[in-house]
Each structure stands twice: as structure tokens, then as C-alpha cells.
């Protein structure tokens, strides 16, 4: 027997190099612009990200300021004469958008570390299932050196060290605190950290304990912890900060009377997250600085996710980031979605193939056919287009087709068009804001209360054709003079905040003149309008014999004519007409512009799959129509039919849909076997005695179904399983 052979067989593991996926690897090899797109994308995202971060830190500044001063002053109060010392507690009501809270608390803690005290402990309920954990966590975090960074491994280390030296009780903390800040002498380090000039020498920094998600703490643990803290409040200047997602009543649900009376709470209400979202949208999406734009459907989807599901701005920003990544990843021309300054250089680098792709863009081909076919003839129908694209159209000569075929002139055209898109955005947002100021207070809000609602109307369809716009203008035509003046002044204020491009920088002054005329109208004496004899003649027009309907019509017509416009009304209409022309000119739907695909991301189905996934329906679809996933012909057919060629689990799933709450396993098996063996109908006797292999296949399929969560074993009836979903096929 040759045993050497088997010995030589072995499996040797080599420790290979760890492969780190590079972003470049994700782009297909033949995709020559991938790298460039990736770079542009990163640059764009960095810009957006920094702006969001700045926003974030500014947003809560007011509430943080109050909170900090509360923490600072809580233990200095000499005027307080309570005999039983209460623990100063800040109840920070954060709102239900729990995903955002981590960032908020991080900001708060770092701000507090900077300004108030180096000793801060942040506790999360998941780390503190028992009193022991909550105490050790607190003490670990409080006693660490303020300048020492603490990550998880360090945390463990300190914990073990502490455990060896002294037990994790409050008395340890008291000893440590007295060592650090024994009266009279304070180390220079501590001196440095104290804020401003503190008159007393024995400066004692407060110990801040932040409970991030107060609701999730176990009540017993929390009560004990607070009781212990209050026992030591004389020695330790403890301040508690509760992060409460719902409302203050949560405190009283968690804590008994005797514990809550140990606290001296002060309520701080964080601004609602929708304010934050509005700021993010206004800052990121409603400016011309960032070329990347969300298409109407994607914008809607992200907004819906926010308003209907979680109120989480972080998730919104993540969604925005995903859209951006996908835009640059999936669109081979996306690197043209770059800052205005880089357009010409990027366009210069375009290859033949890229230009071909541009030619294939629907918006571009539409534009080409428009400029070549209707050149100068049927322009009246496209007067709006002409207004904006006058420059382009003017340049279009009879040899347009040649221009679009020639690469060089094509490049200049593309640059021109992209430049045009950027210019469009520059005038779009100031005017949108102006319109928003005019319409946001109208009764019933025909164009929405928020700027974002107006925006979504603007980018979805032609604004001036929309019903809301017409209704809004009808309402505007009924405004009183004071209201009109008020609105216009506000509008001017808003529009001048923008850095207006030179094309529209006369608009504020133009509105100003209208405004002046409006105010001057006051001084003008009311003209006594001369009586027109026309009315008399009109009267005579009424025929002698007429039916009621016609009579009413004529009367109404007369009524209209009779109504003379006052000078104010005339002026108002004039102003509104002027504004209407402006809006018509500048607030066009972006989808009507050539090359808009490069800047607008609108693949809503992809986003839906990734951000708003539906796992259960995906599983159900996979089980009922397996051929879609397996790419096989044999399983194709009516989704309700059960074919023997389908995978076992699909057959079992389809059979179980026909059952009620409880499923008899034996019946199920019989049905399964009938289906599987339906093709080879040899004899009925076979079905009486189950084949072992079939039985095994059945059992496996059933346990797979259990794993997927459709059934579970039950004790209510022997040999039965319970269904966990409702509904049949």
C-alpha cells in the first residue's frame, strides 16, 4: 500500500496580501472616463460634505449655548437656598429622529469639553444593562485624562486597570476628584482648561454625565444610578443631561416620585429636524454652486422618506450622497457635471465616443432637430425657447447639421450649452425665491408653504402652465395695496441677498420702480374717470326677446365692462404682468433644456431599490416567480401555477399559500409529492408510501421556509406548523 501519496496531499494556507478594493476597480475596463468621473465626484462630494458639516455645527448653536451656560452655572449658584441638594439636570428634547442624535451629541460633548469641563461621560443604553456597567462606564470616562483619546480598546484597558486597583464605586470617584481638585491647589493644566476668568481659586469643574437615549435605559438601573449620584452630590458637582426623544413625560414614566424629586430639571428643546432639512436643502440644492442636481422624482422620493418615515437628516444626506455616487458611476458623461470653471477643460478632453454619446442624448437630439428644422420659421411656437436660447439659435445657420457632426464645433457647442445650463441655474434660484416670497402666504397655499414644494413643481413641469401657479396669480391679483407693497419689499430683500448674474441684476431696481410708483399712488389724487357713453349703448344691445341663459351672459359681460379699473389695480396688473414674464422666462422646467441629463439625476427606481428596499416583497416575488431570478425557461408560466420543475422551496411556498393559519404537515407533503411526481404518473400506489428522497427534499424545503420566516413550529396542534403571513395567492 502506498501511503506516501495520501500524506503528500495537504492543504496549505498562505497568508495572502489583504485586498483592498479600490474605487477604480468598480468601473468597467473599457470605460475610459471612469477615473475622471470618480475624481470629479469626490471633489463635488467633499464640497457638499463640508457645507453640511458647517451647517450642522451652526444649527444647534443656540440650544447648545443655553445648555452650556446651564451646565456652567448649575453648581455655582450661591443664591440657591435649598436644603436638600438636587442634581441639576438638563432634559434635552431631541425629537424622534434617532439616527441624527449621535452627531448632535458628539458636537455637544466636544463643545462642552472645549468650553466648560474636561470631564464628561456619555452613556448609551446599550452599554448599560446593569448598574455595574453604568457605574464603571461613568467612572472610566470621567477619570480619564481629558487630553487622552479614548477608543474602544482603550476603554477596555482602563476598565481592567481600574478594576485591579479599586472597585468601580462612587467612592472611588470621590477620592479621585478630591485628589485632582483638593481645595487650594489646582494643577496648571486645569487652570488652562477653565473658561475665562473664574474668580474663586478652588475652581472645581463639573462632572457632566450625558445619557443619550434616556428612554431606552432600564428604569431600575437609572433610578439606582440617580439615587447614588444624589448621595454624592455634596462632594461631586454632577450635572446630568438627559437626551429625550419623545417628551418630558418620559422622565416620569421611567422614574418614581422619590427619584425624580432628587432632580432639578430644566427643559431644552432642540429645533425640529425639518428646520435642519430645510437649511440643508436651501444650502446644498438651491444654489448654483453645486452643479449636481436631483431630478424631480428622486427629490420627491428623498423628501418622502424624510417626511413619512424617519425625520432623519443624516439619512437624507446619505441618500443624496448615494444619488451623487450613482450619477457619476452610471452616467458615462457625468464628469461634465463639474464646476463652471472646469467646463471648457473637461469638454476639451472629450473623446470621439463621448461626443457620440452626447449626440445620442434625448435632450440634445431634440435640441438639434429643433434648431435645424425650425430654424427661423416656426419659431413663434417656440418663443419661450427662443427667448432663452437666442444666442444658440442665432448662431444656428443653415449648416447646422454640419456643426453637430464636426467634432470641434460640437465641442464648442457643448461648452456653450453647459455654460447656458449654469447660467440658467444662476438666475433660476433668485427668481424662485422671489416667487416663493410672493406666494408662500397666500390662502390655501397653491404653490406650497415651503420653498422645496415650489422647487419640486418647478422642476417637474413647466411652472407657468401649472394650475397652482395660475391660482396663485389670480390670488395675487386680489391683493390690497399694503400687502402688495409689503410683499415686494420682502421680495427685493430676498433677491438682493443673491449674487445676481449680470443678465438679471436690473430686476431689483425694476421692482423698486414699481414699488415707488405704488407708494406714490397714495399721493396721487383719485382721478374721476370720465363717464363713458358706451355703457348706454351697450344697454341697448340687449335683444327684445332672449332666453334666460343668454340674458345672464350678456349681463355678466356688461358687468365686466362696467367695472373700471382703479389706478392701483392697473398698476398692480402691470407689476404682476412684469413678474409673470420674468418667471416665464427664467423659471423654466429644466427637462426642456438640452444636456440637462448631465446635471440632473433621475433614476428613481435604482434609488428606490437601494434606499427604500422592500425585502419581504422581494422574497415573495422570488418564490412565486423563480424564473426571473434563475433565468430559466422551464419555470416560466402563470405566476399562480405550480410547476414540478420549480425549486422545491417555491413549490412548498406556493402550496402553503393555500392553507389557513395552521398547516398539516402530512397533507402538505402529499400535495408536494403530487406536484413533483405529476409528470411521471406511474402509479397511484406510490404516492401512498412516501419516497424517502422526496420526503427529505420536502423537509429541507419546509425548513428553508421556516428560515425565511413564513412558518414556525407550533404546539397548538401536533404535526402542524403555523403560518406567519396572511393572504393567499
Amino acid at each position: 500500500m502506498n501511503t506516501a501519496e495520501s500524506v503528500s496531499k495537504g492543504c496549505f494556507a498562505y497568508k495572502g496580501k489583504k485586498k483592498v478594493a479600490k474605487p477604480i476597480d468598480y468601473f468597467p475596463v473599457k470605460d475610459n472616463t471612469g477615473k475622471q468621473r470618480h475624481e470629479v465626484c469626490q471633489e463635488m462630494w467633499e464640497n457638499v460634505d463640508t457645507e453640511i458639516q458647517i451647517l450642522q455645527s451652526n444649527l444647534n448653536s443656540k440650544i447648545f449655548e443655553e445648555l452650556l451656560s446651564f451646565v456652567e452655572s448649575s453648581h455655582k449658584g450661591v443664591g440657591r437656598k435649598t436644603l436638600v441638594k438636587e442634581i441639576p439636570t438638563a432634559a434635552l428634547i431631541t425629537g424622534v429622529n434617532t439616527p441624527d442624535h449621535a452627531v448632535m451629541f458628539n458636537n455637544m460633548v466636544s463643545l462642552m469639553k472645549e468650553r466648560v469641563t474636561p470631564h464628561i461621560a456619555t452613556l448609551r443604553s446599550k452599554d448599560c444593562p446593569a448598574l455595574k456597567n453604568i457605574l464603571s462606564k461613568t467612572i472610566c470616562q470621567l477619570t480619564q485624562r481629558p487630553d487622552l483619546g479614548l477608543d474602544d480598546e482603550d476603554d477596555e484597558l482602563i476598565q481592567t486597570v481600574l478594576k485591579k486597583n479599586s472597585p468601580c464605586t462612587m467612592s472611588t470617584l470621590v477620592n479621585w476628584y478630591q485628589d485632582m481638585y483638593s481645595s487650594g491647589k489646582s494643577s496648571p493644566k486645569k487652570r488652562r482648561s477653565r473658561s475665562g476668568s473664574v474668580d474663586d481659586i478652588d475652581y472645581k469643574p463639573t462632572l457632566v454625565i450625558v445619557l443619550e437615549d434616556m428612554e431606552s435605559f432600564s428604569p431600575n438601573v437609572l433610578q439606582d444610578f440617580i439615587t447614588i449620584c444624589s448621595n454624592y452630590i455634596e462632594e461631586l458637582p454632577i450635572v446630568l443631561v438627559f437626551g429625550i426623544a419623545t417628551s418630558v413625560s418620559a422622565v416620569h414614566r421611567l422614574l418614581s416620585n422619590c427619584v425624580s424629586s432628587l432632580l432639578c430639571m430644566e427643559k431644552f428643546q432642540a429645533p425640529p429636524s425639518s428646520d435642519y432639512l430645510t437649511q440643508v436643502i436651501n444650502q446644498i440644492l438651491f444654489t448654483s454652486t453645486h452643479p449636481f442636481r436631483l431630478g424631480p422624482k428622486v427629490f420627491h422620493l428623498l423628501l418622502d422618506l424624510f417626511l413619512y418615515h424617519d425625520f432623519s437628516v443624516i439619512n437624507f444626506v446619505k441618500g443624496l450622497q448615494f444619488c451623487m455616487l450613482d450619477h457619476y458611476y452610471s452616467n458615462p458623461l457625468a464628469h461634465l457635471c463639474c464646476p463652471e470653471s472646469d467646463i471648457s477643460s473637461t469638454v476639451k478632453k472629450l473623446h470621439e465616443a463621448d461626443l457620440e454619446k452626447i449626440r445620442l442624448l434625448t435632450s440634445f437630439s431634440k435640441y438639434v432637430s429643433f434648431t435645424t428644422n425650425h430654424n427661423g420659421f416656426k419659431l413663434s411656437a417656440f418663443v419661450i425657447h427662443k427667448l432663452f436660447w437666442r444666442r444658440c439659435v442665432d448662431s444656428c445657420s443653415s449648416e447646422e447639421k454640419v456643426t453637430f457632426k464636426d467634432n470641434k464645433s460640437m465641442k464648442t457647442k457643448v461648452t456653450e450649452l453647459l455654460q447656458g445650463l449654469h447660467d440658467y441655474h444662476k438666475s433660476f434660484f433668485p427668481l424662485m425665491n422671489l416667487l416663493h416670497v410672493l406666494v408662500c402666504r397666500l390662502p390655501r397655499h397653491p404653490l406650497g408653504k415651503q420653498l422645496r414644494e415650489l422647487y419640486s413643481i418647478c422642476i417637474e413641469c413647466s411652472l407657468t402652465d401649472s394650475d397652482g401657479y395660475k391660482e396663485a396669480f389670480d390670488l395675487l391679483r386680489m391683493l390690497s395695496k399694503e400687502e402688495m407693497i409689503n410683499l415686494l419689499t420682502q421680495g427685493i430683500k430676498h433677491i438682493t441677498e443673491y449674487n445676481l448674474p449680470h443678465e438679471i441684476n436690473t430686476i431689483p431696481s425694476q421692482i423698486e420702480t414699481y414699488l415707488q410708483r405704488l407708494t406714490l399712488l397714495n399721493a396721487e389724487t383719485e382721478h374721476v374717470p370720465e363717464e363713458e357713453p358706451e355703457i348706454e349703448t351697450e344697454n341697448l344691445i340687449i335683444p327684445k326677446k332672449t332666453d334666460l341663459h343668454n340674458l345672464r351672459k350678456t349681463l355678466q359681460k356688461m358687468e365686466k365692462q362696467k367695472k373700471r379699473l382703479t389706478p392701483y389695480e392697473k398698476l398692480r396688473n402691470e407689476t404682476l404682468d412684469f413678474l409673470h414674464l420674468l418667471f416665464q422666462k427664467y423659471l423654466k422646467c429644466p427637462t426642456s433644456l438640452p444636456l440637462y441629463e448631465l446635471l440632473y439625476y433621475n433614476s428613481v427606481s435604482i434609488i428606490k431599490h437601494h434606499i427604500n428596499a422592500a425585502p419581504r416583497s422581494a422574497i415573495q416575488r422570488a418564490l412565486s416567480t423563480p424564473h426571473q431570478y434563475l433565468q430559466c425557461k422551464c419555470c416560466e408560466g402563470d405566476p399562480n401555477s405550480i410547476l414540478p420543475t420549480m425549486p422545491d422551496v417555491c413549490i412548498v411556498y406556493k402550496l402553503h399559500l393555500e392553507c389557513g393559519q395552521l398547516i398539516n404537515l402530512y397533507d402538505w407533503l402529499q400535495a408536494f409529492m403530487t406536484v413533483v411526481t405529476s409528470e411521471d404518473e406511474e402509479n397511484d400506489a406510490k404516492s401512498k408510501k412516501p419516497d424517502q428522497i422526496l420526503q427529505a427534499r420536502f423537509i429541507r424545503a419546509v425548513s428553508e421556509l421556516q428560515f425565511l420566516g413564513f412558518i414556525k413550529p407550533t404546539k397548538r396542534k401536533t404535526d402542524h406548523v403555523a403560518r406567519l403571513t396572511w393572504g393567499g395567492c
Binding site: V96, T246, H309, L708
Partner: protein, 432 residues
């Protein structure tokens, strides 16, 4: 031992109890009962009396708060370390009762406490019941075990009967601290009188406070807090010069509405004194907003509907679902009769658990428009659980048919449903 007379001023109305304890303590070297059990309501001066007595009589003693010593090791070590007054570089290590007894005897030896009674005070003694079974009996027999002159004082709010369990424990000497009477309360609260005001004037004020609050709250701590909180308001007219100290009728008329308002927030401690002042100002202008905002929660759109669905599922019997959510519903005669037979209101019985599927079925039938069962919907249910608007009662695994309970009140759900224009009352069985 006449020192304790001093206590009469600082600890009034507990003369009898002090006398009792002193009698038990006797002279320093005299033996005492092995254990004394002191009980009484919250804020009846138990800990205060014991602590100050021990402090004054200069005997070796250790105070232990049992809440803090969550494990028996800490309890032992705390007692030993405090008794021996070691600096915290060399600490006692002690894991079990046996070691504790030995170390304890050692300390008595070292410190020469032979002819003193050593006192161990175990505050919040009810916590001892949750620790290892041997701790309570051992502390009760500590004299016997250590052969030393030692006395354990248990302080608790629970009666001794609730401590009895197992065998081997001997009965302590039981001492009750009765509740303070109204006069007592007034006397004690008068001690808080600010230095620049007359004691009579202050006790007059406490009398007013008591007359309002005594019905709802007899907790001395809370009453003192309330008195402090409202005193500034009380003297406001005097500081403004609108009234004099003797003008008690005018002062009463001024303070009464404030006290009535404070009555609604007894025990809540939601506001510091400064905020309370602010709140009072606002409340005078907008009456109910303050109370409304206490429980107001802003929720995402679908969360609101999920919450409403959960409420309906919790408070409606399963059988009635068909009646409320069937497309064409007609109430049969039998159903009408059945309704009359129903005895107790579901709202009195409290929320019932319901499976996830029922929640979703109701959710889909009440929500407007088509909603895909996306991951976001499911994660919303979980986040509602995490902020305790829903409670999970069974099945920690999502796959294993989790069951939930709705934990919110009818008022809350009504205010939520009002924001989405949904009439929740017409969908509730109890209000049919």
C-alpha cells in the same frame, strides 16, 4: 449623654424615637440588641435621626447605602474600609461572609473597639433581599457570629414582614417612625425660614402651602421644595411695597392661583425655579399650551399611522376587526346584541398584545394611498419600540412573529390622529 438635647432643635417632632434609640444604645460599652429594624414612610426622618445620633454620640459606626453596593463584595469592602479608616492605597479584599467576619474581628482587635459598641447602619435595607440569601440572616446574627459588641441598624420603608424568608434569621428589634402630623410638618418646615424674615411670617406661609397641598402630598421633601419655590412669589408684593407683612389676606389672594397651578405639577420637578417663574408668566397668557407641550411628540407621517393602528389593535378585540375594516360593513342584529353583552371596557383592561401581522393589516387599511411594505416601515416599528411608544411583549426575533403592545394613552392617540385627520374614536370598539 445629654448631647442629644441638641438634636431637639434640629430634629423636631422625633423626641420619642430618639429616646427609644438612645435607650437601645445605652452606654458606650453596653451590649445592644444584635439588630434594630427601623421603618417608616419616605421622609419621616429615619436616616436623619440615626445619622445625627451616631455622629453626636461619638461611637464607631459605618453608614452603608445598599443601593450603591450592588454586589455583596462592595458591601463587605465598604464596611471594612470605612471601619478601619484606611487610606485608599491598601484596601480590604473580601468576597464572602466568612472573610468578612474574620476581617471584622481583626479590625475590632486592631482598633481596640472591644469596649465600644460598633454600629453598622444599612440604609435602604430592602435591597439586601435581592442579594445572596445568606447576607440578611448573617447580618441579623452578626453579634453571634463575630462575638463582638456590634449592632446592625436596618433602615427601610418596608415593614419587617416582607423581609422574612427562609430560615436562620432572628428577629430584630423593630422600631417604627410614624408619619408627621400636619402640625409637625409645619414645625419642621418653619426651620427653613430665611434669615431676613420673621419665623411667624414664614410659618404662616407654610400653613397656607399645607392647606393647599396636604391633601395630595404629605412628603416632607416635596412640600419643602414647593414652599421654597413659591416663597419668592409670596413675598413679591412686599418687596414691591404693595403690601406689608401683616397684610396676610392680600398676600393670600396673590399667591393662591399660583399654588393651585403648582398643584398640577407636584412631584414632576420638570422645571427649575427660574424656569417655573418663566412658565408662570407664559401660562397666564396661554393657558393650556404648557400642559399640552408636555406630552406632545412630533412624528413622521407613517409613524403616526402605525401608532394609530397599534392603538386600535391593542384596544379592539380581534373579532371586531372585520366589522371595522371590511370593505362593505353592515352591522347585523346579532353583532348589535353582542355588543350589549360586553361587560368591561377594553380601556379599563389595558392594552392587549397583538402580532405584527395584525398591526400591518390594520395599518394598510387605514393609511391613505398605497404603501409598499418596505424595510423603512419595519424599522419604524422598531424605532417606535425604542422610544417606548410601543412595547414588545413576545418574540425577540423578527422572524418569530413578534408581539407588541401599544403603550400610549387615549389622549395622546387622539392628538396624533387629529394631525392626520383620522377619526380614531369611530374605529374603537369601546366607543361604538
Amino acid at each position: 449623654m445629654e448631647d442629644w438635647r441638641v438634636l431637639e432643635d434640629t430634629v423636631p417632632c422625633r423626641e420619642k424615637e430618639i429616646e427609644n434609640i438612645l435607650a437601645l444604645m445605652g452606654q458606650k460599652d453596653q451590649m445592644t440588641p444584635a439588630s434594630v429594624f427601623i421603618y417608616g414612610h419616605t421622609a419621616t426622618g429615619k436616616s436623619h435621626v440615626v445619622n445625627s445620633l451616631l455622629k453626636i454620640s461619638q461611637v464607631p459606626y459605618v453608614l452603608v447605602n445598599c443601593v450603591e453596593c450592588y454586589s455583596s463584595r462592595f458591601l463587605y469592602e465598604h464596611i471594612l474600609n470605612n471601619l478601619s479608616h484606611t487610606n485608599h492605597t491598601e484596601q480590604y479584599r473580601c468576597d464572602n461572609m466568612n472573610d468578612f467576619i474574620r476581617s471584622f474581628q481583626q479590625i475590632i482587635e486592631e482598633k481596640n473597639y472591644k469596649d465600644h459598641t460598633v454600629y453598622i447602619v444599612l440604609d435602604k435595607a430592602e435591597r439586601l433581599r435581592e442579594m445572596e440569601a445568606n447576607i440578611l440572616p448573617s447580618f441579623l446574627r452578626i453579634q453571634e457570629l463575630t462575638q463582638c459588641n456590634v449592632c446592625v441598624m436596618f433602615i427601610s420603608e418596608i415593614v419587617w414582614d416582607k423581609f422574612r424568608s427562609g430560615t436562620g434569621s432572628c428577629e430584630p428589634y423593630i422600631l417604627q417612625f410614624p408619619d408627621y402630623s400636619k402640625d409637625d410638618l409645619m414645625k419642621i418646615m418653619s426651620l427653613d425660614c430665611p434669615t431676613d424674615y420673621d419665623v411667624d411670617f414664614y410659618s404662616n406661609f407654610t400653613n397656607l402651602v399645607l392647606s393647599v397641598f396636604h391633601l395630595v402630598c404629605r412628603d416632607l421633601k416635596e412640600l419643602r421644595h414647593l414652599t421654597m419655590l413659591n416663597f419668592d412669589k409670596y413675598i413679591e408684593p412686599i418687596q414691591k411695597g404693595e403690601a406689608t407683612m401683616n397684610d396676610s389676606r392680600k398676600l393670600w389672594r396673590n399667591i393662591e392661583p399660583h399654588l393651585r397651578k403648582a398643584l398640577q405639577t407636584v412631584y414632576l420637578r420638570e422645571v427649575s425655579s427660574a424656569q417655573w417663574e418663566k412658565l408662570q408668566m407664559e401660562m397666564s397668557s396661554t393657558e393650556s399650551t404648557a400642559m399640552l407641550s408636555r406630552s406632545h411628540v412630533e412624528l413622521p407621517f407613517y409613524s403616526k399611522y402605525l401608532l394609530i393602528a397599534a392603538y386600535i389593535a391593542s384596544y379592539n378585540p380581534v373579532k371586531s376587526d372585520r366589522r371595522f375594516f371590511k370593505k362593505v360593513s353592515k352591522m347585523t342584529r346579532r353583532a348589535a346584541l353582542m355588543k350589549k353583552k360586553e361587560r368591561a371596557s377594553n380601556h379599563l383592561l389595558g392594552p392587549k398584545p397583538f402580532p405584527l401581522d395584525r398591526l400591518l393589516a390594520i395599518f394598510y387599511s387605514i393609511v391613505e394611498g398605497r404603501v409598499a411594505p418596505t424595510a423603512n416601515i419595519f424599522s419604524q416599528i422598531t424605532s417606535l419600540v425604542s422610544i417606548h411608544l410601543l412595547g414588545q411583549t413576545a418574540g425577540d426575533d423578527q422572524i418569530e412573529m413578534p408581539k407588541y403592545k401599544c403603550l400610549i394613552s387615549l389622549d395622546f392617540i387622539r392628538s396624533v390622529s387629529r394631525t392626520v385627520n383620522f377619526d380614531v374614536l369611530s374605529h374603537l370598539y369601546d366607543f361604538m
